[in-house]
């Protein structure tokens, strides 16, 4: 079963790299580990017969978004986080309130475990087009994207425009014209 071996290898890599991301003190290592996690997820998409999503994952996420993060990390040059001083001052760090946060986290994990325990096991794809050939086809993806989801696609371009303008306005210095 090479497919299941690949699945467990890639998902283990993705989970381990993501766990290491939030365990690093240096944001530079976090960004690089997140690229590893995204590459493992791209492999999972290939296992799921979605090669186009896998390529988009590598190009957009690992290629563009993570480079943007790396750029900002290097620009700000604030390598380590210094938490001690603010920890003493901040009201939300008091023991009583912190305990409520821990309780909420435990409730979330309990809900997730409960939901996963109630899953109806599904070993093989269902539906009329269960063979995977249609799902993997870029032609079919493009057809659906530009017919059924045409409005959402156009709305996305407005979103990108607004985000671009917002980023330029926010990152501008006050003195700049």
């Amino acid at each position: 079963m090479p497919e299941s071996v690949l699945f467990y290898l890639l998902s283990g890599l993705a989970v381990a790299a993501s766990a290491l991301v939030i365990g690093q003190r240096n944001p530079m290592y976090s960004v690089l580990l997140l690229i590893v996690s995204f590459a493992a997820l791209a492999g999972l998409y290939i296992v799921l017969d979605a090669p186009f999503v896998a390529m988009a994952q590598m190009i957009i996420y690992a290629g563009a978004i993570m480079v943007l993060f790396l750029f900002v990390v290097m620009l700000l040059n604030a390598a380590q986080e210094d938490a001690a001083e603010w920890d003493r001052l901040h009201p939300l760090r008091r023991p009583g309130i912190a305990r409520v946060g821990v309780l909420l986290a435990v409730v979330l994990v309990g809900q997730l475990a409960w939901a996963l325990a109630k899953i109806v096991e599904l070993d093989t794809p269902v539906g009329a087009r269960a063979d995977g050939a249609v799902v993997a086809s870029v032609r079919e993806l493009g057809r659906v994207l530009f017919t059924d989801y045409a409005f959402a696609f156009e709305a996305t371009s407005v979103l990108i425009l607004v985000a671009m303008l917002g980023a330029v306005v926010l990152a501008r210095r006050d003195g700049d014209a």
Partner: protein, 100 residues
């Protein structure tokens, strides 16, 4: 094939890791990275559901999520740069006053 629930468990694990990162870390950049982990966890379950339902809709929604993630990263990092200019810190607890 791999059962669908395995993909959902991986997705839930990644989402829980991302949530933990948002709540535990005190570095704005790491918090944004944790949000990206959460978005990717949701992407994985969309693609897995789409594959097991025999439809391409899951992959289409993944593209929209990626677009939103790109917009979020651009605006979020611009905010981080603007905040770092005023306080010279990336600790979210440093930004408690409404007016500076």
């Amino acid at each position: 094939m791999i059962p669908l629930s395995h993909y959902l468990i991986v997705s839930a694990l990644l989402f829980a890791i991302g949530t933990a990162g948002v709540f535990l870390r005190k570095n704005l950049i790491t918090i944004l990275l944790s949000v990206e982990i959460m978005l990717n966890a949701v992407n994985l379950s969309f693609v897995a559901f789409g594959r097991y339902a025999g439809s391409v809709d899951g992959q289409i929604i993944t593209f929209f999520v990626m677009t939103v993630a790109a917009a979020e990263a651009a605006v979020g990092l611009a905010l981080v740069i603007a905040l770092f200019r005023t306080r010279a810190s990336l600790n979210p607890d440093a930004f408690t006053s409404l007016k500076w």
